[in-house]
């Protein structure tokens, strides 16, 4: 395919994807509104279980009320609108998530290289890494705060550390798998050049690992947002999207739709982080064969 032909096909794909995005959004809105129209306002029981959601305006506000909420005055923020307050919170959370993701990638790739280098490290370390992911973040947050305090680091580093704690794991697992993916013939080839382990890592194992690393990085990107938001909810003092979710849910009586506005902001952050990794992917993979695209 010619270069202009390829650019044209990328443009077509982008248009189609955007159309699909709006179509799925429209379907979600339609489902929400039609349930709200037919569902019982005070919920209902099935075999004695109260599982049919209420459709009153406090629990299920109209979608347009949610959208309009962004333009309302934010409670307790002077004459600022909700959207501008949330934008500030989002930027704050995004920076911590980015720092967490960067740290998580660094640690994750480092651990994977160590494990690929020495089988004994893999055997000894991998079980502990798996266990680390079963520890609830809420239990870990106070400990991290204590350690952070003793190191005299700013408060936001707690959130970044916990985001890194969540995001390193998928990076480690996918990178390790990728580093082990180099074909035997390519490894023999490097061997025939008497190339050492680090040279082989740089010229062969790392580039071969990229298609495997990308899905791990995507998981890590969204995990780092979750890590920061959970930290904000658990620890006080960090004014980001997580704080907004809690803050607005306490004001649910006066402005029920504002909680949803905060949730949308959190979702948007996850999408932005995912998008950043996807952009990195398309740069790194632009000259790879189609079938190896992650």
């Amino acid at each position: 395919m010619s270069r202009t032909g390829r650019t044209a096909s990328i443009a077509t794909t982008a248009v189609r994807r955007t159309a699909l995005l709006f179509a799925s959004l429209a379907i979600a809105v339609a489902l929400w509104e039609s349930y709200k129209a037919v569902g019982p306002a005070d919920g209902g029981d099935v075999f004695g279980w109260r599982i049919i959601p209420k459709t009153n305006d406090r629990v299920m506000p109209h979608t347009w009320t949610m959208a309009a909420e962004f333009g309302d005055d934010a409670i307790g923020s002077g004459d600022q609108k909700v959207w501008s307050v949330l934008l500030g919170y989002s930027w704050y959370t995004l920076r911590m998530a980015l720092a967490g993701l960067a740290l998580g990638m660094f640690v994750g790739v480092g651990l994977a290289v160590a494990m690929a280098r020495l089988k004994i490290v893999e055997r000894g370390l991998l079980p502990y890494l798996v266990i680390s992911q079963t520890i609830p973040l809420i239990a870990l947050a106070p400990q991290i705060t204590v350690i952070r305090g003793s190191l005299d680091l700013p408060q936001w580093t707690s959130a970044a550390a916990l985001a890194a704690f969540l995001s390193f794991f998928p990076v480690t697992v996918s990178t390790l798998r990728g580093l082990q993916s180099a074909p035997a013939a390519s490894l023999e080839l490097m061997d025939s050049y008497a190339a050492g382990w680090w040279t082989t890592l740089r010229k062969l194992r790392f580039p071969a690992a990229v298609p495997y690393m990308v899905p791990g990085m995507k998981l890590a990107a969204t995990a780092s947002v979750i890590g920061v938001i959970v930290t904000e909810i658990t620890l006080g003092g960090l004014r980001g999207v997580g704080f907004a979710t809690i803050d607005y849910s306490q004001k649910v009586t006066s402005q029920p739709a504002s909680v949803y506005a905060a949730v949308f902001a959190a979702a948007a952050l996850g999408l932005i982080m995912f998008g950043l990794v996807a952009a990195g992917e398309s740069i790194l993979m632009r000259r790879r064969p189609k079938e190896s695209l992650g």
Binding site: S192, K203, P207
Partner: protein, 273 residues
């Protein structure tokens, strides 16, 4: 045999044995007291059934495997030293081109590892692209090329550092018959132009006969050399050679040598693998 004549040989394999999983329950004798000498400029093929150790022998010469017993000299040096000095190039059945590198960057790989500067690398690459008759493919990615073209690039990469010896493990095994015959003729021209010595592993009798000055026939269980067939078809071989009476005669000779090996095996009650 004196040390002086060994110095002049391209490859000297003396009394090499290779046992995998030695001492273990699954011990396999892949090579059993194998000896082979290759003169500079010679084209030698290794042929035999699966499990006869032909690929193992190639890897022992390349120093990718350390033999259990015996010694290997390449270019008058130990195989280990020859590997460090990049005295040989290698090509495999899968072209093994790095999909993230352009054709040019693939051919450059061995030169990069030797620490050549960019200017010198680029000059050598265009020379190699001319040699394999793909002068305008340097900027392409490997996956944009056909299987035959990829294999040519792999040969260009193997020869980029101008090694005196080329080791090939069924390099045309994955190609269709027409491309394969074409590539065989190309390879002979490249070797004639560069004076490279070749040790070539193959499953195909016509391929071995068409390419080689000598066909080394091996048999399995344990792997060893049963016969060496000299092919005196001269150096100027072309498509007509494939219809030459001598060509057919030599094919028959190699085939009988291969069968002879199997007969001896069953006579001795040794299994084929």
């Amino acid at each position: 045999m004196s040390a002086a004549t060994d110095q002049a040989k391209a490859v000297v394999v003396s009394d090499v044995s290779m046992v995998f999983n030695q001492g273990g329950p699954g011990a396999v004798a892949a090579l059993d007291h194998v000896g082979l000498e290759v003169e500079p400029g010679d084209f030698v093929s290794l042929i035999g059934p699966s499990g006869c150790g032909k690929s193992t022998l190639l890897r022992v010469i390349a120093n990718l495997l350390e033999p259990t017993a015996g010694s290997v000299l390449v270019n008058g040096k130990s195989a280990h030293q020859a590997r460090i000095d990049q005295d040989y190039g290698m090509a495999f059945q899968q072209s093994g081109l790095f999909e993230w590198r352009t054709v040019t960057k693939n051919i450059e790989l061995p030169l990069e590892l030797k620490g050549w500067d960019k200017q010198r690398r680029r000059e050598r690459v265009s020379e190699m692209l001319e040699l394999v008759k793909l002068p305008d493919r340097g900027g392409h990615m490997p996956w944009e090329l056909s299987g035959g073209q990829q294999q040519r690039i792999a040969i260009a990469r193997a020869l980029a550092a101008h090694p005196p010896l080329l080791l090939m493990d069924e390099p045309f095994g994955a190609l269709d018959e027409m491309t394969r015959e074409h590539m065989q003729s190309e390879l002979l021209q490249i070797c004639a132009a560069t004076g490279t010595t070749v040790v070539f592993v193959t499953h195909s009798i016509p391929e071995a006969v068409y390419l080689s000055d000598r066909v080394v026939v091996m048999s399995a269980g344990p792997g060893r050399i049963t016969d060496i067939v000299s092919v005196d078809l001269g150096r100027d071989r072309d498509e007509d050679t494939r219809e030459d009476d001598t060509f057919y005669k030599k094919i028959t000779e190699v085939r009988e040598a291969l069968r002879g090996g199997e007969l001896t095996d069953s006579a001795r009650g040794i299994e084929d693998r």
